[in-house]
């Protein structure tokens, strides 16, 4: 289990000496990735979700808060001692076309980390060969076909499966998938998503799924949790299905409204919201960070930064009548919370036309 407490990261600004201002990529984020769980981060480009994934893999330092992996605080450790903890968290890269060395066969690509692992665990000689075939079977590839081939001989979907198999060579507990399906054809995405969901049970891993496409997060399992991130802050958190059904923060509603609607088979949601302006990272609003773009902003939104809260009566403002009762969304999933002074559920997601 991994717990993040107030993770923050500030980058030194770019530009001329006089205009240089630090960029606050993460402003204190709390989250928990339970064992065998599936957690998704969604948000637009530049919201900090990729930085968060990189911090989790140990590729990036954090300068505020703490990361606790299996009960061990990372802040308390020297960077050399952190390596054994970060080994348990493996990244699946976004681009399967550049994540594999083009001059090496798939057999070599998978063999190297396995030989390393065999030395660490003192495994027998034939273990590497068996494990390689086992991992390829797990990701749905035929070892005899794939092993002697170079990456360019495989399709995008097959390459992404090789990338996943490579991440599994070091027996991780968590896979971090940063836009893992956005570079591959829509027709092949579902196969990869179903594979990731299956790995939770078969390989005993938990998933951290980073995406801008909320729809893909639904396919990781019914117990998935969603964190909506805006400018380095969590603005809404809850079960994936609960948020899609009852989006409460206006930013979440904007993201869901932006999903294309299929003519002839879907009806657009009646309350669709569009942000008033594009993202401008240079401004620092005094109150709610989303206020300058929020179609529903009120005067008091400029005065105070809203905290992540959970309404005691669970159903906010004008929840649509006949909506599912709070407990029915997904048993055992997270509580639904949001950071907005004027929370109101809106119907923004398209529905299947009758």
């Amino acid at each position: 289990m991994i717990t993040a407490q107030g993770i923050a990261r500030t980058f030194p600004g770019r530009g001329s000496m006089l205009r240089r201002e630090p960029v606050r990529a993460l402003r204190g984020i709390d989250f928990t990735i339970p064992d065998h769980g599936a957690v998704s981060f969604i948000g637009e480009s530049g919201c900090g979700k990729t930085t968060l994934g990189r911090i989790l893999c140990g590729f990036e330092e954090f300068d505020g808060g703490d990361l606790i992996i299996d009960g061990q605080s990372m802040k308390a450790l020297r960077s050399r001692d952190r390596a054994q903890y970060f080994r348990r968290i493996q990244m699946i890269h976004q681009d399967p076309y550049s994540a594999l060395n083009p001059t090496r066969t798939i057999g070599q690509i998978l063999g190297d980390p396995l030989h390393l692992r065999a030395r660490q665990t003192g495994a027998a000689a034939g273990w590497v060969r068996d494990r390689r075939a086992e991992l390829l079977g797990l990701v749905g590839l035929d070892p005899d076909y794939v092993l002697p081939r170079y990456p360019h001989m495989l399709s995008g979907g097959m390459r992404q499966r090789v990338v996943i198999a490579r991440a599994l060579t070091v027996d991780p507990e968590v896979l971090v998938a940063d836009e893992a399906v956005s570079m591959i054809d829509v027709s092949l995405r579902l196969g990869i998503l179903q594979l990731l969901q299956g790995l939770r049970a078969k390989a005993g891993v938990s998933l951290l799924f980073i995406t801008h496409d909320v729809a893909t997060a639904r396919y990781l399992g019914p117990d998935g949790e969603l964190y909506v991130i805006y400018r380095g802050m969590v603005v809404e958190h809850g079960g994936t299905d609960a948020i899609i059904r009852h989006p409460t923060h206006p930013y979440t509603q904007c993201l869901l409204s932006a999903i294309p609607v299929l003519r002839g088979i879907e009806e657009p949601g009646p309350d669709r919201l569009i942000p008033l302006a594009p993202l401008d990272e240079r401004t620092q609003p005094p109150g709610c960070l989303f206020e300058p773009r929020c179609p529903q902003a009120a005067a008091d939104c400029r005065a105070a930064v809203p905290e992540l809260t959970q309404r005691a009566d669970a159903s906010p403002g004008s929840a649509s009548p006949g909506s599912a009762s709070p407990g029915s969304a997904s048993p055992g999933s997270a509580s639904h919370e949001w950071a907005c002074l004027h929370p109101e559920t809106r119907s923004v997601v398209a529905t299947v036309a009758s």
């Binding site: 092949l188 496409d213 993201l255 294309p260």
Partner: protein, 334 residues
């Protein structure tokens, strides 16, 4: 019951593609990337072209500009464009004039297709000069109006290098380049790939508005059925170099007739509906070498395939202005 409307008799087409075959010369002999394609782009409408990587969508679109890169070559067919005639017969000067003046093309990955060493304003002036426009001032005025129309800060964009613009902004600058010479046909190749959802929605809305305001005939190419389903009036589904289904978008999506279209729809991650009903597409998309030479090209991946599908290529079946190429589903009653 509506009389069958064949493409030859359809009126109001601004672009007519007839029996187009584009082949690539290889050591194995010529291999067709686009094979006997018929497609009309109806004047004033948005046509969507959807298919997996390698299905021949971009090759088809480049053939509309007579710009298929070697070793590719148009071996058969015609592309007729209103006010231009047969594009495939044009040579040098006439061809260059047609590109830009009649057809505007927004390239795939247009986010990276701008010259990184020049400011956007300089690039726009280069474009005007290469088409013999001497009045640079008027050109800049016109591009400022277009940029402002797309919700961009025109002065800032013109004095920016491409790396100073976000992905969504570069995509919109690509559209400005395509429309600056008042083209009446606009072709967009994967205009929203690599954009996040909010930028994608914004770009789609701009395409929709510009298309209507300028009375364009638009072709939008994407591997993402949801983009086509949101934007296009008519859609064509491509597989292995063939148009396997084509018709009004609502009709194709609500009653898909080709097994490939049905499989694509079932394999789409969707925000509505039951996730358990989703089915990944079996097999892998064919490349030039592995396209079946005989019979139906979708047969190896088709759940409905019969022995008859191995022998002949299925002809188009028409129901109203919706056509598809399948032996098996042609027998279904609607």
């Amino acid at each position: 019951m509506a009389a069958p409307v064949k493409p030859e008799t359809a009126t109001g087409a601004a672009v007519r593609v007839r029996d187009l075959t584009v082949a690539f010369r290889t050591q194995e002999g010529p291999l067709p990337a686009v094979s006997h394609v018929n497609l009309d782009l109806v004047r004033g409408q948005i046509t969507g072209l959807v298919g997996e990587s390698g299905s021949g969508k971009s090759t088809l679109a480049l053939a509309l500009l007579n710009a298929v890169p070697a070793p590719g070559q148009v071996v058969e067919g015609a592309v007729e464009i209103d006010g231009v005639g047969d594009v495939l017969a044009l040579r040098r000067g006439a061809l260059r004039k047609m590109r830009g003046a009649d057809i505007g093309y927004v390239f795939q990955a247009s986010q990276n297709s701008l010259n990184p060493l020049k400011r956007v304003g300089k690039l726009l002036l280069d474009l005007g000069r290469s088409h013999g426009l001497r009045d640079g001032r008027a050109l800049i005025q016109q591009s400022k109006a277009l940029l402002a129309d797309m919700g961009l800060d025109a002065t800032r964009v013109l004095s920016s290098y491409q790396h100073e613009l976000s992905g969504g902004m570069r995509q919109r600058v690509g559209i400005v380049f395509a429309l600056l010479l008042n083209a009446h046909v606009l072709i967009l190749d994967e205009p929203t790939t690599a954009l996040d959802m909010l930028s994608q929605a914004q770009v789609l809305e701009i395409i929709r508005r510009i298309h209507a305001e300028r009375h364009l005939t638009t072709l939008i190419i994407s591997h993402d059925m949801s983009v086509i389903g949101d934007l296009a009036d008519r859609m064509a589904v491509m597989y292995a170099g063939r148009v396997v289904e084509e018709g009004p978008t609502a009709s194709v999506l609500a009653c898909p007739r080709h097994p490939y279209t049905r499989a694509l729809l079932a394999a789409m991650p969707r925000i509505t509906g039951d996730t358990a009903g989703a089915r990944a597409l079996p097999g892998r998309p064919p490349d030039l070498m592995s396209i079946p030479r005989r019979g139906c090209v979708f047969e190896p991946r088709c759940p409905l395939a019969t022995p008859a599908c191995l022998d002949d290529e299925p002809p188009d079946t028409y129901t109203g202005d919706h056509r598809f190429a399948c032996f098996v589903t042609a027998g279904e009653t609607q």
